[in-house]
């Protein structure tokens, strides 16, 4: 694509108001998604010891050195005390496990040790019950649990050595070192408690919606801040749309090109499989697959990918078959262009644009489907920032005075879909050679 082409494309966008609107909307959504942590800052959890360290560092003098070290050690104790104590017992269990697998100890010994550990709450009773039900899978689960706890222990040791290092740092470097360590430990704390900024925090325990106010700009639904959900939901929307479209389109392009290229029996088999998949109603199929796999955003994405590749496959196959017989392909052959160059230069560019356009238009639709699944409770987990989930909180409260719980996330969704459709449309105008004039 040369400069002239780009200029022409830009001129086309600027001249066409709907295309302009599409691109502007999309750019706004992209900016919102990128700046989400600034527009709607997540409410990071506070740990009292680390907070004390932070305060001391803000207003630092050397007299506070012992305080800081004290709070660091205090944090280590409060968070990792148990694992430090439990670690030898866990290692014993691990040993016994390996020995049991080599038949060096009996099942009774293993069971006894496990029950002992369970009675001290070192491991969950659940594993004990599993051992009586299904030994093999219980062993696997136990191993996973042990290695998880081992990782926590390693983290504890790491923090401990870091703190010891800090103790021996000279006074000049102390502040800087302490600041890095604080950041470091806070990060590990966030990870340890599994904090996810995508989860909308609960701002109230009351379930009824609250209208927009200065504190909650878009109101509160299901006890959660709608503003936060809408902003972070933009990221979810992009995540769902782009990932599903990218994977399903790649699968479609791959299968469609293979079918068109090889023809014959391969074509027949692939296209019949495509037909079978196409005969499944999309929404119903997505519901069934999500239910089988279990709820969750990733499961929704899997089900939409599984049911989303067929149109692309058909499209690219048809286009390749048609382009293959175009006279310019024959003309290119007649001037001695090699086969792979014909495929890459003459066939693919003439077939790929409809697929790209179709994919960009599909992104909007996929977000709607994901929202519908979330609305039915099959999509994202409780409180996940996703437009569909926010809508699902409104199920029990739909009435005109509660308009904001539906209209606000609904408008966000409509604009998102509209943006992609308009962009897809203008892409067609720009790239479709038949519409060039």
């Amino acid at each position: 694509m040369n400069k002239e082409e780009i200029k022409r494309a830009l001129r086309k966008i600027v001249k066409n108001p709907t295309a302009m609107l599409g691109f502007v909307l999309l750019i706004i959504f992209i900016i919102v998604a990128i700046l989400a942590p600034i527009i709607a800052p997540p409410d990071y959890p506070i740990e009292s010891n680390l907070k004390e360290v932070e305060d001391a560092l803000d207003d630092f003098d050397l007299s506070k050195k012992t305080d800081i070290l004290f709070y660091f050690n205090n944090y280590l104790n409060s968070e990792y005390q148990f694992i430090m104590m439990d670690y030898p017992d866990l290692m014993e269990l691990k040993d016994t496990l390996t020995k049991y697998e080599k038949n060096e100890v009996s099942f009774d010994e293993l069971y006894f040790l496990t029950s002992e550990l369970a009675s001290y709450y070192i491991i969950d009773r659940y594993y004990l019950n599993r051992l009586t039900e299904n030994v093999n899978s219980a062993l696997k689960e136990l191993k996973r649990e042990i290695s998880r706890q081992e990782n926590i222990y390693k983290e504890a040791i790491r923090i401990k050595t870091e703190i010891e290092k800090l103790e021996n740092t000279s006074d000049n470097n102390f502040k800087k070192q302490a600041e890095t360590l604080h950041k470091n430990i806070y990060k590990s704390y966030i990870k340890k408690i599994n904090y996810d900024p995508y989860i909308m925090r609960k701002v109230t325990n009351r379930n009824e919606p609250q209208p927009p106010s200065s504190e909650y700009k878009f109101g509160v639904s299901g006890g959660r801040d709608i503003f936060y959900g809408v902003i972070w939901g933009t990221r979810t929307g992009f995540k769902i749309g782009l990932i599903v479209v990218l994977i399903s389109s790649s699968v479609g392009i791959f299968l469609g090109s293979i079918a068109a290229y090889f023809g014959g029996i391969v074509d027949e088999i692939i296209m019949r499989i495509t037909d079978i998949f196409l005969s499944i109603p999309f929404f119903l199929g997505a519901m069934v697959i999500t239910t089988i796999l279990g709820t969750g955003l990733d499961k929704v994405m899997i089900s939409m990918t599984v049911l989303g590749w067929m149109i692309t496959a058909r499209l690219i196959r048809g286009n390749i078959l048609q382009t293959k017989n175009e006279q310019y392909v024959l003309a290119a052959k007649a001037i001695g262009v090699s086969d792979w160059k014909i495929i890459i230069m003459h066939i693919l560019p003439n077939t790929i644009f409809p697929v790209i356009i179709q994919a960009s238009m599909r992104i909007g639709g996929l977000v709607i489907t994901a929202a519908a699944l979330s609305f039915l409770g099959l999509g994202s987990p409780q409180g996940y920032a996703d437009w569909g989930s926010i809508l699902s909180y409104s199920r029990d409260w739909m009435s005109p005075e509660n308009w904001y719980i539906i209209v606000i996330p609904g408008v966000a969704m409509i604009l998102f879909v509209l943006a992609w459709n308009l962009v897809g449309d203008s892409l067609r105008d720009i790239f479709d050679p038949k519409m060039r004039m």
Partner: protein
């Protein structure tokens, strides 16, 4: 020994297609020779096998088509057995081709400059800049005004005649020895047709290349060629010097084609036409393939298959009724002069 001096010798070419109805013999025993700088026309209605002949020559047949028999000797080498990579070096460089539909024969996504540069880059190993200069020179040569501007334009920005000129520039870019023109004027306006024919003739003289014209229009044949092969149903019906054929046609089919040309110098109520149309490949009559449409046919024509015979020196025809045709022609022509 004579044959090795010829540029191209096609001997008993047979091209078959595998279809659901069985094997279709699209070209059945075609032979001709082509000298340096000579022009040969292959004439026939749609479905007579003329396009298949040149596609066989270029080895660009569809997947279900194949050369069943015969020789395609180009400069002493049989193209039929050439490996693909060597054949690719012949296409575009030694034998170039222009197509009927300039609308569809150029890729809509690339500028015409890019498409003219493609064979130059492939065969002559030129860099972009030099290739572009050559493309501009070629566009000038084929009579496109403002070639510096046109070179960066897309096919849709050019008129049909311009596009055909661009196609010709593309075909000439590597100075081929043979130019195959597959109905190059069919899709163009009458005024443009004459220009394009004139252009091809001029360029042929300048480049000294041989031209194979594929056409259904005997008017075009008379205009440009030295010799002609008239094909029907995949078989040669008449072959010879163009003046001989026009003066003394030896086949009712050729005679029919000649009478189908509109003529301004004769006052006729209606234009004469060959009755019926070319049957599909599997449905030709079993005797003479033209027997169901021929005005001279009798039982012999319907039951027996005529062979190609040399009626006069270098003038071949496939017909049982050459005598009757001669009488008929004398009758009609004396009527004309009255």
């Amino acid at each position: 020994m004579d044959k090795n001096n010829k540029l191209l010798v096609v001997e008993n070419l047979k091209t078959h297609f595998k279809t659901e109805d069985g094997e279709v013999k699209a070209v059945n025993g075609l032979s001709f020779e082509l000298d340096y700088g000579e022009t040969l026309s292959i004439v026939g209605e749609s479905g007579s096998g003329k396009s298949v002949t040149v596609l066989s020559l270029m080895r660009l047949l569809d997947e279900n088509g194949y050369i069943a028999d015969g020789k395609l000797i180009y400069k002493g080498e049989d193209l039929k057995n050439l490996p693909d990579n060597k054949m690719r070096k012949i296409r575009g460089k030694e034998i170039a081709m222009i197509f009927q539909e300039p609308m569809t024969a150029l890729n809509p996504l690339f500028t015409i400059g890019f498409q003219i540069m493609e064979p130059i880059k492939i065969h002559l190993n030129k860099k972009d800049k030099e290739a572009k200069q050559m493309a501009i020179g070629l566009l000038k040569k084929v009579g496109i005004p403002e070639p510096e501007k046109r070179v960066d334009q897309y096919p849709h920005e050019l008129s049909g005649g311009m596009r055909q000129r661009a196609m010709i520039a593309m075909a000439l870019s590597c100075n081929p020895k043979i130019l195959i023109a597959d109905e190059p004027t069919t899709a163009l306006d009458v005024t443009i047709q004459a220009q394009i024919l004139e252009l091809i003739k001029e360029l042929q003289k300048e480049y000294g290349m041989a031209v194979i014209f594929i056409t259904h229009d005997l008017g075009v044949v008379a205009e440009v060629s030295d010799r002609a092969v008239v094909m029907y149903g995949g078989e040669v019906f008449e072959q010879g010097n163009i003046i001989e054929i026009f003066k003394k046609p030896k086949n009712p089919y050729t005679w029919g084609l000649m009478n189908s040309i509109p003529r301004l110098d004769l006052e006729k109520e209606r234009l004469w036409a060959i009755p019926g149309s070319v049957p599909s490949a599997a449905k030709f009559p079993k005797g003479c393939k033209f027997s169901n449409r021929c005005f001279l046919k009798d039982d012999k024509c319907i039951n027996d298959h005529p062979e190609l015979i040399e009626v006069e020196k270098n003038h071949l025809s496939r017909c049982f009724k050459i005598k009757e045709l001669e009488n008929e022609i004398i009758k009609v022509r004396s009527g004309d002069s009255l």
